[in-house]
């Protein structure tokens, strides 16, 4: 009798266990299916738009089919280049500050600021850069767009570079100091090279993050139907093209929006994969 009660309780527990497993596996299956669906659609719909013209020709006038999005590809390169030039030195210096002053009140304040910056919605960055750069220069520009993207990158890169600096064994620095090397030389010649791969990783992650940002570009880079190489003028960008083209009434442009989406996703994924493969080594 007692034995039976025990057995049935055991069975109930085993059943609950199986039920729980099912209850978490099914939603996870839904998540996985959704993710695969989204990826598959981007690849399939995007691949249809890809041809030589897509990469090398400019946008055709409204309503005409054909042409390409070279203006957006070049624009994205310009924006990301500007952003890296602006963000890399500052994130290096700021992460070195965190490294050199670790534990101090000021370093904690800087770390908090960087965390908060990281949480700022990117549209807010766009609005502020608009009033800082676009209004005084009286023109939308690649410069403004690049600056906005730099502020998107900066907090991410700083915290990643700081983490990689902290991974360098302290004995490296101590050995250099013991040999009489000035501290700043030891940092530049020993610590920085030792974390070079971390810095590279942070930079590519920063680029990957900024490449897909649209919101900070709408009021800064603005977009441009023509290929432009001027930093002082408005430029197009891949995410801007997606946003603009899908709103248009033309099927050809819708298809190009998917093509641009595929290009963007591939670019971001390749950058992420480079990081992943480095980590394994």
């Amino acid at each position: 009798m007692e034995n039976n009660a025990f057995k049935s309780r055991h069975q109930i527990r085993a059943q609950k266990d199986r039920f729980f497993k099912l209850a978490v596996m099914i939603p996870s299956g839904i998540v996985v299916a959704l993710l695969i669906l989204i990826l598959a659609q981007v690849v399939i719909k995007g691949a249809r738009a890809l041809n030589m013209d897509f990469f090398f020709k400019q946008q055709k006038p409204f309503g005409e089919t054909g042409g390409g999005i070279v203006q957006a590809i070049v624009g994205t390169m310009m924006l990301l280049g500007t952003a890296i030039v602006a963000a890399l030195p500052f994130s290096l210096l700021a992460s070195l500050y965190l490294y050199e002053h670790r534990g101090s009140k000021r370093a904690k304040m800087l770390a908090t600021t960087i965390n908060t910056l990281q949480g700022i919605p990117s549209i807010v960055i766009g609005v502020v850069i608009y009033s800082w750069i676009v209004v005084p220069l009286r023109s939308f520009s690649a410069l403004a767009g690049g600056t906005a993207l730099a502020i998107v990158m900066l907090p991410l890169m700083t915290s990643m570079i700081h983490a990689s600096l902290e991974m360098v064994p302290p004995s490296y620095l101590e050995a250099a100091l013991a040999l009489g090397v000035p501290r700043w030389r030891a940092i530049i010649d020993i610590i920085l090279p030792a974390s070079a791969s971390g810095i590279l990783e942070a930079t590519s992650l920063g680029v990957a993050r900024a490449a897909g940002e649209t919101a900070p570009l709408i009021f800064t880079a603005f977009g441009n139907p023509f290929l432009s190489l001027s930093l002082k003028g408005p430029v197009s960008a891949l995410p801007l093209v997606i946003y603009e083209y899908i709103k248009s009434p033309y099927d050809d442009w819708h298809q190009k929006a998917w093509g641009a989406a595929l290009l963007l996703v591939l670019f971001v994924l390749i950058l992420n994969m480079l990081i992943g493969s480095r980590k394994k080594h």
Binding site: R13, K16, D17, K21, V24, M25, I26, P27, S28, I30, V31, V32, L34, L35, I38, V42, F90, L93, A94, Y97, E100, M109, L110, T113, N115, T116, L117, G119, I120, P121, S122, I123, V124, I125, V127, V128, S131, W132, I151, L154, P182, R183, W184, A208, G212, E213, T214, A215, I218, F219, F222, P239, I242, Y243, A261, L264, V265, V268, L269, N272
Partner: protein, 290 residues
């Protein structure tokens, strides 16, 4: 170059970053003053937003922001917790785990505008059919479409943070529980989840911060209508989406200033969510130390 100059250079960069952030807040405060002066407190609770008559009440957008994020959380929490539990408890190694990890990472890196594009082509027709079924106006775009895509977008963050929280539960606790004869389910719901609850909740808050500030996908899917949403199928706007869709077209200075005010509100709301999230995260992390 010497140590002092080197340190001065580092200090300069650090100070500049702090100034940039302070400048952000200051710029938004100063630029939003004209609109705040004109509207007073009604800027926060006024329900009329009309650039033509120059009335600027942000209530429809505040409600739109909170509503879409809340619905997204309701959808995303069960899915993300499940996925996090599976990754953190059931498949801790092997190919299935790397597949799940890769998929989640890939999804986390897909730009928001691509989600918007996907939503326009897939979610909007779906919601339109649903609306017809429920006898609602068949816009397709609206609160529901935006919330659905928002939910999908925050799933990767929430589930990977749940996984991390569960992976950090000390192995001894789990082993002890198994040794006492507890089933897997009892270990997860009785030991692991309660132990990791602060970190999991922090993950939810940080995801909320992302959802509140998310712009592009929402702008493309919410229908951009200035009204207080009265149903799931209603068109609407969030703080972020109204800035994205109206800022460049702002005709008057007050309109632009009002938009700066919206940006300030958005900044404050996401800062509060982020601050709570990080504080909880620290608390959760310190619990592991005990």
């Amino acid at each position: 170059m010497n140590d002092r100059r080197f340190n001065a250079l580092l200090g300069f960069a650090a100070l500049l970053i702090v100034f940039v952030f302070a400048g952000f807040v200051l710029t938004l405060v100063v630029q939003s003053l004209p609109a705040v002066k004109q509207e007073g407190a009604a800027f926060l609770y006024g329900s009329e937003w009309n650039p033509v008559t120059a009335r600027f009440g942000a209530l429809p957008f505040i409600i739109g922001t909170l509503l879409t994020s809340a619905i997204a959380l309701v959808i995303a929490i069960p899915l993300s917790l499940s996925a996090g539990i599976v990754m953190g408890e059931y498949v801790r190694s092997g190919w299935l785990r790397s597949l799940l990890n890769t998929l989640i990472n890939v999804l986390a890196s897909i730009p928001s505008v691509v989600f918007g594009l996907w939503g326009i082509e897939v979610v909007i027709p779906l919601v339109r059919n649903l609306a017809v079924l429920f006898g609602a106006p068949p816009y397709g775009a609206g609160i529901l479409a935006a919330s659905l895509v928002l939910a999908i977008m925050i799933i990767p963050y929430m589930s990977s943070m749940t996984r991390e929280a569960l992976m950090n539960v000390p192995a001894g606790l789990r082993e002890g529980a198994f040794a006492l004869g507890l089933t897997k389910q009892e270990v997860v719901t009785g030991i692991a989840l309660p132990f990791a609850r602060q970190s999991i909740f922090a993950g939810i808050l940080l995801s909320l911060g992302r959802a509140l500030g998310e712009t592009m996908a929402v702008t493309m899917l919410i229908g951009n209508a200035t009204r207080i949403p009265d149903s799931l199928f209603s068109l609407g706007n969030t703080l972020a989406s109204v800035i994205a869709s109206q800022f460049n077209e702002a005709a008057s200075d007050v309109h632009r200033s009002a938009m700066m005010g919206l940006a300030l509100m958005l900044l404050l709301i996401t800062m509060i969510a982020g601050w709570f999230g990080r504080t909880l995260m620290r608390k959760g992390a310190s619990a592991y130390g005990k």
